[in-house]
Amino acid sequence: MVAAVFDSLFVDAATFERLTGWSMRPEGLCRGERCVPVAAAKGRVDVRAFADRSSSALVHDAENGLWALGPESGGRALASATLPELELPQVDGEPFRMSSLRGTKVLLVAWASW
């Protein structure tokens, strides 16, 4: 999971899924086969309850009324060897899904201009 910033502790489920990858299902918030038993009231996710039950950090900037949710702790960055779904823009802004390269070996290289 990736860290995400919210301006409320109750976030609509669609926004929560877009920012974190966790989606609402009858059994709770799920990502792949992993589910965290958090109920959504009126389609909104209780971010604090999710953080508590998933051992994810929840950091608050009181000056700006912002909360940031960290990834689940206690495991490793890769919970399995399956590449997580990853969609990022190309330099021209066009979205690119890594899954479009299935059938080909890939070397992914992370770099930076800084």
């Binding site: 990736v2 860290a3 960290g70 070397l107 290289v109």
Partner: protein, 226 residues
């Protein structure tokens, strides 16, 4: 930097995808991508999603992914060749700090030959290559996430958001928290120092050169575990 290797290995079934971990987005990364005349997908990761999804803590880092979408080597230092800046000599007229920085950069670990040799073997032999790791080993070698690393990621995300909102001083507070909580994450550090620009010394008590000297240049990139 990767285009030459890509041209050689694309016919053998390897695609190279570069991802710029850069909150400055395409504006910051485009000059390098255009200079490289890259044919391969060149992606932009403004939120540093790959840092957390894959456990990347420094650049350049390479991840091998097989035809089924399975990671067969987790992030590790990846150089296509020994970079030219690694062999630069300080000039007599270089200011002392610049000369020292050049000397430290020369002392970093660049294992390009071993890395590319292993990559070529995997491209040729696929799963039969000894460099393609089983899934449990890939997971074991990926970065652990103790609670403080989760807090570091949340703090870094707050820093990026506040910088985007035009609050560089408040952003620096959260970037500082991320650095304190996960001191071996160089992507956090280097991104934050760059974003601070001329305010870097006001916001932060340390810098890249001081930290690498404290750590020891040879430890900045860990040895490849091939």
């Amino acid at each position: 930097m990767w285009q030459e290797l890509r041209a050689a290995l694309r016919p053998k079934g390897l695609e190279i995808v570069t991802v710029a971990l850069d909150s400055g987005g395409a504006i910051a990364a485009r000059p390098w991508i255009e200079a490289a005349k890259a044919d391969h997908p060149s992606l932009i990761d403004e939120r540093h999603l790959c840092d957390e999804l894959l456990g990347i803590v420094n650049v350049p880092s390479g991840v091998w992914i097989d035809e089924t979408g399975t990671i067969v080597r987790p992030p590790e230092p990846a150089w296509p060749r020994r970079p030219a800046f690694a062999d630069r000599e300080p000039r007599p007229d270089d200011p002392p700090l610049r000369a020292e920085s050049i000397r430290v950069v020369r002392g970093l670990r660049y294992e390009a030959e071993r890395y590319i040799g292993a990559l070529r073997d995997w491209v040729e032999r696929g799963a039969a290559s000894p460099f393609a790791l089983p899934g449990d080993e890939v997971v074991r070698r990926s970065r652990p996430i103790p609670p403080e690393v989760s807090s570091a990621a949340a703090s870094f995300a707050l820093g990026l958001e506040l910088h985007r909102r035009g609050q560089p001083e408040r952003a620096a507070y959260w970037f500082g928290e991320a650095m304190r909580l996960q001191p071996d994450n160089w992507t956090y550090r280097r991104q934050a120092w760059t974003l601070a620009g001329p305010d870097r010394e006001r916001f932060y008590a340390t810098d890249w050169l001081s930290e690498v000297k404290r750590l020891g240049a040879e430890s900045y990139y860990p040895p490849l575990e091939l």
